[in-house]
Each structure stands twice: as C-alpha cells, then as structure tokens.
Symmetry: C2
Subunit: 198 residues, 2 copies
C-alpha cells in the first residue's frame, strides 16, 4: 500500500535479526524523517561493508589484510586469547586489562548445529603456535557449545606443548548469592581461593 | 575498535528509534553476513527514499504528486477519513471495509508538545470540503492528543456544514471485560446499542 520504494525499504529492514513488520515500518518512517546527509552516511556505510573482511591472522574484522590488533607492535605477542566472536574482542578490550594478541574462532563447535572443528577458525590458530607462544587463554562463553569448544581446544593445544588457561568461572561481581544458579554456585565453590592477607 | 567503516555502520544503526549500541552491533553483524546483492537492495531502497514525498492532496506517502488512493477512481470521493499517520491508513486499509478517500494529518494537536492546528495538515483538509463531500470520519486514536484533535476538527468541519462522525469507542473484540480499563468501560456503557433482532 505504501509507494514501492518505501515497501522495498521495509522489506530490507524486516530481514534484520528480531525485527518484525511493525518495527521495520517504525525504522522506515524514522529514516524518512532524516536529512539527506544522514541517509547518505547510511548508504556510504553499507557500501563500505564490501571492503570489510576477516583478518588473515586472527579472524577479527579488518578492512586490510591484517587487523589493528595484529599490526599493533606494543601488544605482547607471546599470549593469545581465543574468543568465539569479534564482539567478544571488543568486550575484553573495553576492560583495558589484556594486552596480548587475539584469535577469533568466528563460531563454536556445536553438535546440535552440526558445526565441527574444521568449520571454525581453529587450523589457523594451531599454525600460530610456535616456541614464542607462552600461553593460550581460552575465553569462550560458559555455554554448552562454548565448553565443548574449550575442551577440544585444550586437547589439541596441549599436544603442542603450550600452556592453556581458561577464564575463571564463579559468581559475577555485584550479584546476589541467592539468585545465582546451581551450576555457578558449584563452580564458585570448586574454584574457591585462599584469601591473601597483605 | 572495529574497522572505521564498520563503526560508521553501527553509529548509523544506533540512530534508529529504540536501538542501542548492542542492538546496532547485532544488526551490523547480520548485515555483514548478507550477500552483496542484499546489501545492494538496501542501498537502492535508501537511495529511493529521497523520491518519497507527501501526497499533495491527502498527505499520505507517494513517489508521485498524488498517492495511489487519491488517484484511484473506484474509491468513493464523497467520504474522507481523517487519520493521524500514514501507518493508520495501512491499518484501516487492511480491514478491507473502507472504500472512501483518506486524509493524513501527519501529526496531532498537542498542548504538551506545543503542536497547534496550523502545524499539521488541517488547512488542506478544509480546502477539500465542498458540496460533493457527504461525510468526514475522524479516526484519530482515543488518546489525549487524538481526542483534542478530534474535538478541534469536529468544530471547524461542522462550521462547513458537513456530516462529521467518529470511530466508535468501546470494548475491543475478544477482550475480557474485567481487564478493560474504567474509561473504556464507561465509553462502552455510554455508547451501548439496542440489539437488533432479525
């Protein structure tokens, strides 16, 4: 019922994850109100998408052969943190407490989805392991697929003789103990630490 | 931390209504996975936006001088339904039970937002009223601003000697009586109708 060009825009927006027809209409009307300049920015950003690829070394997003993290000479090259998705790199980076290199799997091993080790960015990770690498930190999410991937990586990396560590599991900071689920409590108890007095 | 072109896309998406940084990232990653052909469709749809304007007669969206409803000779030209937004036209049209003409105000009179009768598409409506118009149906939403606009329109249209009607207020179909709010119940009681036996 809308002009064809407007219907086209709605059907494009409808394909975004979690967006139904009503939300797509709402977005389309919001775009209609925008200045030409803003629309041009959106067009330019979409046109630029074609130039975004995966970093040849670590799998993070880049518009060049190597991403900014791999090119950065100030980062410690002897530690590699393994993450499932590019978003996870940003989450870690925001904390400001990690200064090593990254490796993005761009997926997780999943028996339910039929994703096997060869389907994700693991081979490249193994080829990065040499004598210069002191530690590989596995930082996949503590979900079923994340755990399965971590176990697999632990096995193949240990065969290469490198120190493999994982992010700690336990109570999230600021959380109320009685709201924590059983598995988290069990992990927090298992991984309890001696209080270091100064 | 992402490549600049990708950050640009996120900041464009962040400006959509109700979209925060996380959702914008999610949309951007979904777009990244799309085929070039899909992205081109999105670019074309955005480029086409500039050609969408408001129908010169009724205020609905159109990519020509007159919208498809105003051009449609099969619709009854003696009835005009007045609506607040283009989306409302689509909602009414979907029911398939109205075959007259439309008039879109593209806004509502609002004392709280400082929107006055001259700020919305009312003057054009008044200029459409002549002896050929038999009825004007006011179909603004039963909200504060919608009611205020309806009262104002009722006054100025009656001065022109045209029959003015409003959409009925009452219990929505399928709703449970004990979940209806007081105002709706009062309206439903006030507007009760004699049951017509056949």
């Amino acid at each position: 019922m809308y002009p064809q060009r407007f219907e086209d825009l709605i059907s494009v927006l409808e394909k975004l994850p979690g967006v139904g027809n009503k939300t797509a209409q709402r977005y389309a009307f919001a775009l209609l109100e925008k200045e030409d300049e803003e629309i041009q920015k959106a067009i330019d950003a979409l046109s630029g998408l074609k130039q975004i690829r995966k970093c040849h070394t670590c799998g993070f997003l880049s518009d060049e052969e190597e991403c900014s993290f791999c090119k950065d000479k100030t980062r410690n090259p002897s530690t590699i943190m393994v993450l499932a998705y590019p978003q996870d790199v940003v989450a870690i980076e925001k904390t400001g407490s990690y200064k090593g290199k990254y490796h993005v799997l761009n997926g997780l091993i999943s028996s339910s989805k039929g994703i096997y080790p060869e389907d994700i960015n693991i081979e490249k990770l193994l080829s990065r392991i040499d004598d210069s690498i002191k530690e590989v930190i596995i930082a996949t999410s503590p979900t079923m697929d994340g755990e399965m991937t971590a176990l697999y990586l632990d096995k193949v990396l240990k065969d290469k003789g490198v120190l493999v560590t994982r992010l700690a599991h336990g109570l999230p900071m600021g959380a109320s103990l009685d709201y924590a689920d059983d598995l988290t409590l069990i992990k927090a108890l298992d991984n309890r630490r001696k209080i270091e007095s100064e």
